[in-house]
Every structure is written in C-alpha cells, then in structure tokens.
C-alpha cells in the first residue's frame, strides 16, 4: 500500500502525459514501478504466489513498448546427459553452468522480436533465448577471424542442447516464463504486469526490471526488488536443520521413537 501511495505521488508530480514535449527540449522519459508485495513469505500453506507489478511511464508515445523482466537468485547448476549403455540409461557428460537464475520471467506488451532489436535483447538478457547461461569450465577464449577474445565452447554445437535442456526443465516448473502480452497498457502511461511465482520458486532476492522500448532499443529502465523468504515454522525448521544439524537430527530421531512408543501403547490396549 505504501508503494502504491508513493506511485500516486510520483504520478501527481509528473507533467500531464498526453501533452507533447515542448519544442526543442529533448523528450523526457521516465518509469516508476512497484510490486503489490515486496516480501513474499513461504509458510506452511505456500503454494506459489501471484503478484502484480504496476507502474507508469512518463513520456510514453504511440508505438512504444514496455517489458518487465523478473530475475530470481542465481545458483550453479550441473546438467548431465543420459546415455544408453548395456541397455540402461546412465547420466554422463556433466556440464557445470554458473550463475543460472533460479527464476526468470519476461512479460511484454507484444512479442519481443516485434519491437526490439536482437542486440538490445541480447545485451540486456531479455527473453529466454537471450538469457546468458555460461559454462566456464567448457569455455576458452581465442582469436577468430582476427577478432580477439572470442568465447568458444569446447562442446561446440552441443552446448545448445544443454542450454535448451535447462530452459525446457525450468519452463516445465514455471521457473522460466515468457509471456508476450503479459504487460497491459492502461490509459495515461500506466501499465500492469502479473508475476507468477511457482511453488518451487527459490528463496532469496529477486529483481524486477522494467524497460521502455522505443525504435528497438530501451530508452529508460527502472528496477524494483522483491524478497522471497521462509517464515514462521518453515523458517524455524529450516534454520535449525542447517545451523544445528546434529541437534535437528537428534530431535527427529527422538520424535520418531516417541511416535513409535505411542503407537505400541495403543496396539497393546486392543
């Protein structure tokens, strides 16, 4: 609610949107944005979350587009490919990917390729196809065609299959999502986008970036943050398990023994 008030204040301070910028002065563009929740708590009934990112773009013109990118905390991933040997499928050929976002969602007013250039998307890592997934252990830099420091993968074209596998697996879980038309433009430069966090969404800091695209390139951007954290009993259990693993293990075993004893008592009476 506080965020909404701040947004309204910003809107009030902004000049009237529909009015064209005065002659001669550079067209001013700016974005304000906020999320309906800045903290998402994972409690025992957590089954994913739906948030709304809303905001306003100052100086929005006909033909401009808005893109919202939400990135979750990064983690290293290991991807293995199954190969058949002696009739059974065995995990082989591990490739380690560093700093893979645990959550990555893009929403835009239109399909990305319709309003943005390839370079702009690649540079800002907008869209699942442009997400940078690096496997440093399989990469080396060399000079190719007279260009220095070209990064080359030892895996060659195979790296693309690994990349696709990551995106496919995460998309199945809703951890990578791309929705053209996910950003709704309202009157007066206001916009709204839904952010859907699946139940498996990782814990940590998220960043939501809003880009204003004009003529294929972003001309303004704004970042807001979101924190996903465990709370209540879930947090207490998780913290205990990780900070005092021996005590946690002991308690788990004592609980099991007590439950077994209680059951034996009930059995005896019948």
């Amino acid at each position: 609610m506080r965020a909404l008030l701040a947004l309204l204040a910003a809107l009030a301070a902004a000049p009237v949107f529909a009015k064209a910028p005065p002659e001669g002065a550079p067209p001013e563009t700016d974005i304000v944005a906020a999320l309906t929740q800045e903290v998402v708590e994972i409690r025992s009934n957590f089954d994913g979350a739906e948030l709304v990112l809303y905001g306003a773009a100052r100086g929005l013109r006909e033909g401009d587009d808005i893109t919202v990118v939400v990135r979750g905390p990064e983690r290293d991933l290991r991807v293995m490919r199954k190969q058949r040997s002696f009739g059974i499928w065995i995990n082989r050929a591990p490739v380690r990917f560093e700093s893979v976002p645990g959550y990555y969602a893009v929403a835009a007013t239109r399909p990305l390729s319709e309003f943005a250039t390839f370079t702009a998307l690649r540079r800002n890592e907008i869209g699942a196809d442009h997400l940078r997934l690096s496997a440093p252990e399989t990469e080396r830099t060399e000079t190719r065609f007279g260009v220095a420091d070209v990064r080359v993968s030892d895996l060659g074209a195979e790296i693309v299959d690994y990349r696709d596998a990551i995106i496919r697996a995460k998309a199945d879980e809703g951890l990578i999502a791309e929705r053209a038309g996910g950003v709704e433009l309202l009157d007066g430069g206001l916009f709204r986008a839904q952010v859907i966090l699946p139940p498996t969404t990782p814990v940590g800091e998220y960043a939501a970036d809003v880009y204003l695209f004009r003529d294929g390139v972003p001309i303004a951007s704004r970042r807001t943050t979101l924190n996903v954290q465990k709370a209540g009993v879930e947090r207490a259990i998780y913290d205990l398990a990780h900070n005092q693993p021996a005590l946690y293990g002991l308690l788990a075993v004592i609980f099991a023994a007590l439950a077994g004893w209680a059951a034996a008592e009930v059995f005896r009476r019948r």
């Binding site: 025992s44 814990v203 693993p245 308690l251």
Partner: protein, 314 residues
C-alpha cells in the same frame, strides 16, 4: 490442502502424503515388512528430491520399527543379544552407506544406483519368495508328513559352523560364530542407508536361511536392529546432508501408524502362504516397474542438479 515442506522445498498435498502413509502402513501391518521399498520410489515419483525421500524414510521407519520392536520385546520374541551383535555390524554399515550416498550424489549417479539396488534385491527376493510360497501352497496336503521327517534330521555342518569366535545365543538356541552375524548386520545397514529402507526384506531371509534362527524371534530381532540402524541413518543424514524433512516424516508416521493397525487385523485373517504370494507379487511388480524405467527411453535425456553438492565433496 497443500502443505509446504521446509527441507524438500516443495509444496505437496497433505492428504496424498497421509494416504500414502496409510496405504503403506496397511501393507506393512499385513505382511510384516517395513514398506520402505514401496514408499521411497513413490515419494520420488511424487516429486520429493531422492536425497530427501531416502533420509526422511529412514526416520519414518525408525518410528514404525520402534512400535513393532516394543511389542515383540513384551512378548519375549526378541533376541536382544543377537540384535546387539547385528547392530554392531549395522552401525558401521550405516556410516558406510551414508558416506557412499554422498559420494554417489556428488557424481550424479545416486538415482541410478538406488534403482539398480531396488531391481536387484527386489527381483531376487521377490522371485525366491514367490517360488517358495507357490510350492508351499501346492504341497499343502503333504507338508505335515514331510515336516516331521525334516525336523528329526540333524543339521549338516556348513562353512558357517567352521568360523571362529563362537558365542551362545540362548533366546535363539544357537551356538554360532559372530562373524556372519556382524557381516549381515553391516550389509543390511549399508543397504538401508543407500536405499532408504529398513532392510527387513533382506534381513529376515538371511536370519532364517543363513543363521537358521527360529522363525518366532526373527521378526522381533530384525525390527530391533532396524530401529537402531534407521535411527542412526536418519541422524547421520540430517547431520551430514541436511536431508531429513520432519514435516514429511510426521505426516508419513501418522498415516502409517494408523494403517498398520488395520493391516495387522486383515493380515491375521488371511492364510500365511497366500499372504506371502501376494507380497512376492507386489515386490516383483515394483522391481519390474523400476527395471522398465531404467531401460525405457526417458522423456528428457538431460537432468539438472544442484552444483553446490558437488563442490562440497570434490
């Protein structure tokens, strides 16, 4: 109703997990087996990470075997001395199993090894049990005569009788070397840690056919050993790998405790041979399903894993 599991880090249907505990508890009460060999694959299928499924399962089995072992202790059908010797081997087996589990997990091969162990053990034991119980049903009319003849025969000396360190086990009425006992305890402990099972389905045949313990003390003694080995396994998994989810364990324990009561009552009304055929068929079905999964072309040839585990153990 969904509930979020803090360690497994996924949200599951509370009634699904309670129902699973109930169903497996029912079967374990009816057949006198732990049921871990059924529950672990199902939990993995539901989406619980294999490491969490195996470790939490150990915690749940500790609870169910505690109640079983107490009941047998009161009825004096538990050989405490034999149990303790088995346990001595089991402790080392459990430590070795948890260690092996971590190493295999770091190499990304844990799922394969778990599946292979299941196919191998369930396949062999299920097949043996099936053949034995079908034969028992076929020969039902004639068994009484043969049984008399068999009992009078003196036991042959086997290689086990030649081993040193012989001890008396008064409750079982045995005078045997402790070496095979410790070895069996070790192997079952290692299997239990690796497969997330109690190991009763390996322990019971080993006690009957290798140690030649009387059948009436076998179940109680096996439960006694399983209780301590699974308790230790759960503790080690929690302390070393942080993979025991107490919420999941509590749900499974509640379901299985209630299910076991109903199962035991139904089981008492069915003839032992039929019960064994049904159990053997079930064990074989799980083995066949897992064997099929190992050989069938997987839907996705690529598998994603957390890289953090690999770093810690590298």
């Amino acid at each position: 109703m969904q509930i979020y599991l803090p360690i497994a880090e996924i949200s599951v249907n509370i009634f699904l997990i309670l129902g699973l505990g109930l169903a497996v508890g029912f079967l374990s009460g009816m057949f006198g087996v732990g049921g871990g060999f059924l529950l672990t694959p199902i939990l993995i299928f539901v989406g619980i990470p294999p490491a969490v499924a195996v470790s939490t399962q150990a915690n749940q089995i500790a609870a169910s075997s505690a109640s079983g072992a107490l009941a047998h202790f009161r009825r004096r059908t538990l050989d405490v001395k034999m149990g303790l010797v088995l346990l001595a081997g089991g402790v080392f087996g459990s430590v070795a199993g948890v260690w092996l589990f971590s190493v295999l997990q770091a190499r990304g091969q844990i799922d394969l090894v778990i599946s292979l162990c299941y196919v191998l053990f369930l396949g062999v034991i299920g097949a043996l049990m099936f053949i034995e119980s079908v034969n028992a049903i076929r020969k039902r009319g004639r068994t009484e005569v043969r049984g008399e003849a068999g009992r009078g025969r003196r036991r042959k000396r086997r290689w086990i009788d030649a081993l040193p360190l012989k001890t008396r086990f008064p409750v079982s009425g045995l005078y045997i070397s402790i070496i095979p006992v410790v070895v069996i305890g070790f192997l079952v402990g290692a299997l239990a840690a690796l497969m997330g099972v109690g190991g009763g389905f390996v322990m019971v045949p080993a006690m009957i056919y290798i140690l030649r313990m009387p059948t009436n003390v076998v179940i109680g003694t096996s439960l006694f050993q399983i209780l301590f080995v699974t308790a230790l396994t759960a503790f080690l998994q929690a302390a070393q790998n942080q993979t025991v989810d107490v919420i999941l364990a509590a749900l499974l324990i509640i379901g299985s405790v209630i299910g076991a009561q109903f199962g035991a009552r139904v089981g008492a009304r069915v003839r032992a041979e039929e019960l064994r055929v049904a159990l053997a068929a079930m064990v074989l079905a799980v083995a066949v399903k897992l064997a099929f999964d190992l050989t069938a072309t997987p839907p996705d040839l690529y598998e994603l894993m957390e890289a953090a585990l690999a770093v810690r153990l590298a």
